[in-house]
Symmetry: C2
Subunit: 617 residues, 2 copies
């Protein structure tokens, strides 16, 4: 691995407490350090990874992990939320000939009419608004279709390889271990492969040209499974840093993208703070803000106010928009007999509008206009599933599948307009109906990436819906879903706090990783094996550091065996020193001579027919 | 439902705090009450259920749930751990002609040599030891093979039906919704069906004739998926009630069986306290106590000390024994190249013994003798998977599958000896290798019930292994596993505390229920639907009460919306009153006339071909 810069290891702090007012959480995750690596031939492209050095006794190279956390975990970075993050894409974008736009002027309704003390100040970080022209490539899809490889494509290829180099021709290949249900996961990701996947519509890099701070991420069935976390503003915001901290905290634990679902006052300005400090793609649901602008009165929603909101948010740099254009007038009656009706907020707003107006959805009717706006900034579509099931009883019903078919139609239109597209999916689905969702999505939506919420596999566990949904998320991720939207323990009950967000993200990293393992992603198993070797060798510190949440693993261990000496103990607290199965196993392995004798014995035994029960004397 | 006794509803207490010294947790789970019901024609058989009354506005009958919690949640019961529980099986057993045995005398080594203050007093609850004769039926398997239906079989049939009555002949059938992978789940469970499943070896009722306190449970692929929780003694035991409380707490939240994995001092006496106060089957690993008796020196283990331990524990009333007879000398070399060797404590003890002695396992050689002892008391076999994989890397390897094949041989021998048998399974298995485990187990072990630990679907999340394993448990439960052994958040790290045990049990109830739903168990979806209707109607109290953990659901809700009025609010905290999607959906449904019009409109639309995109004007 070609490290071009590294952090000095130091004793990092654990981070369960919120940061001081005006600050965000910084510093590496315990036991790891940020490293930067460049793909061969591209010193200008610096891809971040998280490196975990192992105990010298392991005699193993440090393990390199995918790193979603941005500059916040870099001990060499100076973090100042008022100044915003560095802009890795600035040079790349400047070479593409986009024109500087005259930004839309901010209006009082963009911030819900907040004034005086109640108004969150705009983010002072500099931001120049760009827009693409009609004549040349703007979106990653357009570049890919034109056969061109962007810096973003080179970046994500290196990122997906976890910095690994391509094996030399003729080198012994890794034995394929996994079942990918007909996906085409390569042993090594090249920029050409990335380009081809994007050109086929099977992957997207959500990357607004007005989001130069972005560390690009690829979302597609043939890449590592991604995780989205949702954040939203508090009713009472004491500082902009507090809102940025929600983002920082989510990506620290592994969110690949973050959706800002804020409503109410200050959403424009808070979004500014978030985007200027976001190394990950940011998604929104523009309909929420459009509704705010008309005072929450659905009957006053219109194409004009929606259009204005799209432009406002695209100029700020939002990377993907959830657009509920699949909720058509004709689909609404199909929900009438449901146990839980329409549970998507966007879906119910649009259904309500269609009923009040008794006409087709303006999102559907203006879909081509929406495409034209989103193409201009390369905002990716996340076609919303406004009719997703809200209960086991409603899973895979006529309303859900009618909408999915419409989303398939819209995908083709968006592609024809040059846009990148992913498709949102359910929701609440029992295990035996999950695969049908994936298969139908691939078929109807022409392999555009699927982005699902869970699904929850039972309705009976409010308070534990991160778990009911982790089961469904792992399965649908294995079957081919490209990104999983997290669910926190507070789902259906209340607003998640800091701990809930962390538990939600870690839980979904488990699902995504379990899916990567089952699909046979070439780099997934490296971490499992490293951790298992550490466990078997009683390298406790390595075991903690290699885990998804080193702070919690260490704390749980210390509850039972608090003494420092026990971190190097050759037994664990479950069996104690006398009965440790791991220790006995090590004795077995270490005694190579005895093993050799046993193998001989074993061979004799098997030749004699080891199926035969040896009766008691 | 034929209620023969009910509890008066009252305001129950939440139970997160441990009980007072000398006491155990009692009282119903919030929002429910204990009811008793008898199968038609059997007034002497009283089966417990948990009933949840719904808000009158729901206009729904109370929901009846399976109840594992025993008399502890019965407001009419007087709980005194020194006196033990009532004995529902006493009359049934007394009619079977078993002889009173002269119990084996307790020896100092049974309690690890504890004396004086360090000795936990024996449980004073009366206990008469029975043993079966060679000439007549003793085990449930023998009764079933003889075509006889026991009271236990009638009991579990009613229990599995959740007190439902059989539909009248010719009544409209429920539409089958599920995929059971070739299982044979009936619409209604009859005692005859139970008998036939036991006779085929496809189900067991672990029910030692010396455990009259037992409320019988059936474990098999064609019944509801069961959950086991493990408990063990503390290093410092302040009271016997404290040990009984671990059992009471586990079954309160839904453990169907409990394994006592105690080691060290006082295990005989603590086991007495547990069994006399256990309404659920109790399992143990006799090898652990045998090793204690020889001072932890594996080389001193022998058939004689093991035999003595089997008899000791069988007389106390243990319902199933984990016997690691599949760890054969010839299998041990197969583990030498593993990443994590042998991780089962029992497996490593036996492997160690075989290596030291360089001879075949005494458990394997004396397997028929073991069967003779276990048959005499109807102790069921849980054939241990001593070579289960301890990491993703070792899943489905030669060692694991060689042992599984041996367990298949042993199953036939145990059946020939009249014993009930289930088979233990892994462990750590990535998702794509789970189904192979189930398929091979069914084939090699002749459909004997499978009882798995997880499996964990990744190794990288110590601190969250209840979740990594809940994914695998739900899947293998769906594929056909009959009982899931829980994993707590402390797995691999330390000893679970009270909260960990609760989280582990609730998590595994989620997996088991998700499996029941996916298999299409006829009564599983009733609870999901009732909860979803409550959610859609904003019956917050009903939603809490119907959930697996009402205390946590209520607490989480109250964090965001603490006011009492909000428990009847027609919105939830996620969207607030303005944007509530559920409310909008209700408006849609309520407006029946508009719906009728829409359906007409929808039909016209579909006839005109709704696949065509309507371009923007």
């Amino acid at each position: 691995m070609n490290h071009i810069a590294t952090n000095t290891p130091e004793k990092p702090v654990t981070t369960s407490a919120p940061p001081e007012p005006g600050k965000v959480t910084t510093g590496p995750i315990f036991g790891s350090r940020k490293v930067w690596s460049s793909p061969a031939g591209h010193p200008e492209i610096r891809v971040p990874f998280r490196e975990i050095a192992l105990d010298p006794s392991a005699n193993e190279a440090p393990l390199c992990l995918y790193d979603t956390s941005g500059p916040y975990t870099d001990t060499d970075a100076t973090i100042n939320v008022a100044a915003g993050l560095p802009k890795p894409r600035a040079d790349w974008l400047s070479r593409r000939g986009f024109s500087a736009a005259t930004p839309r002027a901010v209006r009082p309704e963009d911030n819900g009419g907040a004034t005086g003390d109640r108004l969150v100040a705009p983010c002072p970080a500099p931001h120049r608004v760009l827009e693409g022209g009609a004549a040349s490539c703007v979106t990653q899809y357009e570049f890919a279709r034109a056969g061109l490889i962007t810096e973003e494509m080179i970046y994500v290829a290196h990122r997906e390889n976890l910095g690994r180099q391509k094996a030399a021709p003729g080198a012994a290949g890794r034995r394929k271990d996994g079942d990918d249900f007909g996906a085409a996961i390569p042993e090594f990701v090249t920029p050409e492969f990335v380009r081809d996947e994007i050109a086929r519509g099977r992957a997207i890099i959500p990357a607004n040209i007005n989001h130069p701070e972005l560390e690009p991420v690829i979302i597609g069935r043939n890449f590592l499974v991604k995780v989205n976390a949702n954040i939203g503003n508090s009713a009472v915001t004491s500082s902009a840093a507090e809102e940025v901290e929600k983002l920082v905290w989510s990506i620290r634990w592994g969110a690949d993208t973050v959706m800002d679902l804020s409503t109410g006052r200050n959403i424009h300005n808070i979004r500014d703070w978030i985007l200027r400090n976001a190394p990950t793609p940011i998604g929104t649901v523009p309909l929420y803000q459009a509704l705010e602008k008309v005072g929450g009165d659905v009957s006053k929603l219109s194409w004009e106010v929606f259009r204005d909101t799209l432009i406002e948010q695209a100029e700020q740099g939002v990377d993907y928009f959830t657009i509920h254009a699949g909720v058509r007038l004709a689909h609404i009656p199909l929900t009438a007999e449901r146990v839980t009706g329409i549970v998507s907020r966007g879906g119910s707003i649009m259904a309500s509008w269609c009923l009040m107006e008794h006409r087709e959805s303006f999102l559907y009717e203006h879909f081509e206009d929406i495409c034209d706006i989103m193409r201009k900034y390369d905002v990716s579509f996340s076609l919303g599933d406004g009719l997703r099931p809200g209960s086991i009883a409603d899973a895979n019903d006529a309303a859900q599948f009618a909408e999915l078919e419409t989303l398939g139609e819209l995908t083709k239109i968006a592609w024809a307009k040059g846009c990148q597209v992913m498709i949102e999916g359910p929701g609440h689905v029992p295990m035996h109906k999950i695969k049908e969702n994936m298969d139908k999505q691939l078929r109807e939506c022409h392999e555009a990436p699927f982005y699902t919420l869970g699904p929850l596999t039972t309705d009976i566990a409010p308070g534990y819906d991160h778990i009911t949904s982790a089961i469904g998320a792992a399965m649908i991720g294995w079957f081919g879903t490209a990104m999983l939207c997290y669910v926190t323990p507070k789902e259906h009950l209340g607003l998640p706090n800091r701990d809930d967000v962390k538990v939600g993200v870690i839980t979904y990293r488990i699902s995504a990783h379990a899916a990567d393992l089952a699909k046979g992603h070439p780099s997934a198993k490296l971490r499992d094996d490293a951790l298992s070797r550490a466990r078997f060798s009683f390298r406790w510190e390595d075991q903690f550091n290699l885990s998804l949440d080193p702070d919690t693993a260490r704390a749980y261990h210390d509850e039972t065996m608090p003494k420092e000496a026990h971190k190097t103990a050759h037994f664990c607290s479950m069996c104690g020193p006398k009965f440790c199965s791991m220790r006995i196993s090590q004795d077995i392995r270490d005694d190579a001579q005895r093993i050799a004798g046993l193998e001989e014995k074993s061979r004799e035994f098997r030749e004699a027919g080891n199926k035969v029960y040896v009766p008691a004397e």
